[in-house]
């Protein structure tokens, strides 16, 4: 049966952008990469488009991390994010607070191993254990264990940071 790409696009776009955002930390870039992942999936017409999209997105994000494009665009991003925020929510303190929280989650995620982070983000992106196993090459029985460890480390790393921040205030 042919893939209903319009429906899949609507259903998965947000998940894929979030997945990418947590890798490139640039909202606009995450959207661009998500769109590129869809474009590639459409060309390739894979059997399991959902899992395939995440694999491609992952590769794109990895390439992106090496690329100078991201650095060049970073200032544009910051500006665009400020403009995108609705006026009511963009009071300096609310804005700063949001940024700090995002930054804290980012640092906590960086404390995870690459594999744990990948599995966690794929689950959060809506992939099943079986799809995650197929994408990462892990055994199906290892996904639950990996998720248990990844979640626990994320929470611990975040809370350690909070404690340090409170102590340094």
């Amino acid at each position: 049966m042919p893939t209903d790409w319009a429906a899949l696009y609507e259903a998965m776009y947000g998940d894929l952008v979030r997945f990418l955002y947590r890798k490139v930390w640039d909202a606009e870039r995450a959207e661009d990469l998500a769109q590129e992942a869809f474009v590639r999936a459409l060309r390739h017409d894979p059997d399991n488009p959902r899992a395939w999209l995440f694999t491609v997105a992952s590769n794109l994000a990895r390439d992106e991390a090496r690329s100078a494009v991201r650095r060049r665009r970073h200032l544009e991003l910051v500006r665009a994010e400020i403009e995108a925020d609705p006026p009511a929510a963009s009071s300096p303190s609310a804005d700063t607070e949001r940024r700090e929280r995002v930054e804290a989650v980012r640092r906590a995620l960086e404390r995870l191993s690459d594999r744990d982070r990948e599995v966690l983000l794929m689950w959060d992106g809506g992939l099943s254990y079986t799809e995650i196993a197929a994408n990462t090459g892990l055994a199906r029985s290892a996904i639950g264990t990996t998720l248990a460890r990844a979640r626990s480390r994320l929470v611990t790393a975040y809370e350690e940071q909070e404690r340090r921040d409170v102590a340094s205030d």
Binding site: W5, V17, R18, E31
Partner: protein, 298 residues
């Protein structure tokens, strides 16, 4: 069975025990039921799990409204209002074409639009920007094109715009692969009337041949100064309802653009009319574009 592992507890919470390869789902479920220790561990695991995912939700980008699927592959900087397809990167065009194939493929699955016609526009985009016509048809001066019907009394602004259109920017040679033509030549190529929106100045008419199928691209100037792009190609559609459904399927996607305030976005409509498929793009709300298309004449 022995106590559940952390992995099995998380799989249980995730509703994924069916995916466990190291335990029978029924064994896991019955153990949770019968073991107070594991139930306590399960609640602890649930707190960790929920906390982790609420942290991830903090790390989400501000806006997630998807752009219209037709816009995929076009970098933001390539999306100025009113300038569809005039000189975007060839790679972008190829991307957009892939989306067009897939999108219409989706309609196809629902029996809404015929493959052949969908493929024509896709093929058109695939080669656009990379090929030149071997023998360009006779070149007209597009800026001299005028609406073929007299303007109605209420259309003074459009008439004024028509006079001003002599100074409107028109690409001298057209995009690569497209040849400028006049209306008569376009109609000869199409084998029928060229459809344009009554009362809007014609900025340019281009044509190209895609594997024996003519496609004519007409740019008309809107009162706002933006451009309405029409592409017309012969198409056989037996059921008029199919065309309406295709337009309706498009609407949902366009609404996402509308929700984003339309800045930098264009609406796209495809309609079947008297044996032709017409694709229209303009930086307008979907409703405005549809109402414009009700004025298609020719």
């Amino acid at each position: 069975m022995s106590h559940l592992t952390d992995g099995q507890l998380h799989a249980f919470l995730d509703g994924s025990v069916e995916d466990l390869a190291d335990a029978e789902p029924s064994d896991v479920r019955s153990h949770v039921k019968g073991c107070a220790d594991c139930r306590a561990r399960l609640e602890a695991a649930r707190l960790v799990r929920d906390r982790a995912h609420s942290l991830l939700r903090v790390a989400a980008p501000p806006s997630l409204a998807p752009p219209p699927i037709q816009e995929l592959g076009r970098a933001r900087t390539d999306r100025p209002p009113g300038r569809w397809s005039f000189g975007p990167r060839p790679e972008s065009l190829a991307w957009a074409a892939t989306i067009a194939v897939a999108l219409t493929g989706g309609w196809l699955a629902r029996g809404m639009i015929d493959t052949e016609t969908a493929g024509r526009f896709a093929e058109l985009d695939r080669v656009a920007g990379t090929e030149q016509l071997a023998e360009p048809p006779a070149i007209a001066k597009p800026a001299e094109e005028q609406p073929t019907q007299p303007l109605a009394a209420g259309e003074g602004a459009a008439a004024k715009m028509a006079r001003l259109s002599a100074t409107a920017a028109v690409p001298a040679d057209g995009p690569p692969g497209w040849a400028p033509v006049d209306r008569a030549r376009a109609e000869t190529l199409l084998g029928g009337r060229l459809r344009t929106v009554e009362g809007l100045p014609i900025l340019s008419i281009f044509a190209r041949d895609v594997e024996g199928t003519p496609v004519v691209w007409t740019a008309q100037q809107l009162a706002s100064g933006h451009t309405l792009n029409l592409r017309q190609s012969p198409a056989e559609v037996s059921d008029a309802a199919q065309a309406r459904d295709a337009v309706r399927a498009n609407r949902k996607i366009d609404d996402a653009a509308e929700a984003e305030g339309l800045a930098g976005f264009e609406s796209v409509e495809r309609i079947h009319l008297s044996g032709f498929l017409i694709e229209a793009r303009a930086p307008l709300s979907p409703d405005s574009l549809r109402s414009l298309l009700s004025r298609l004449e020719g």
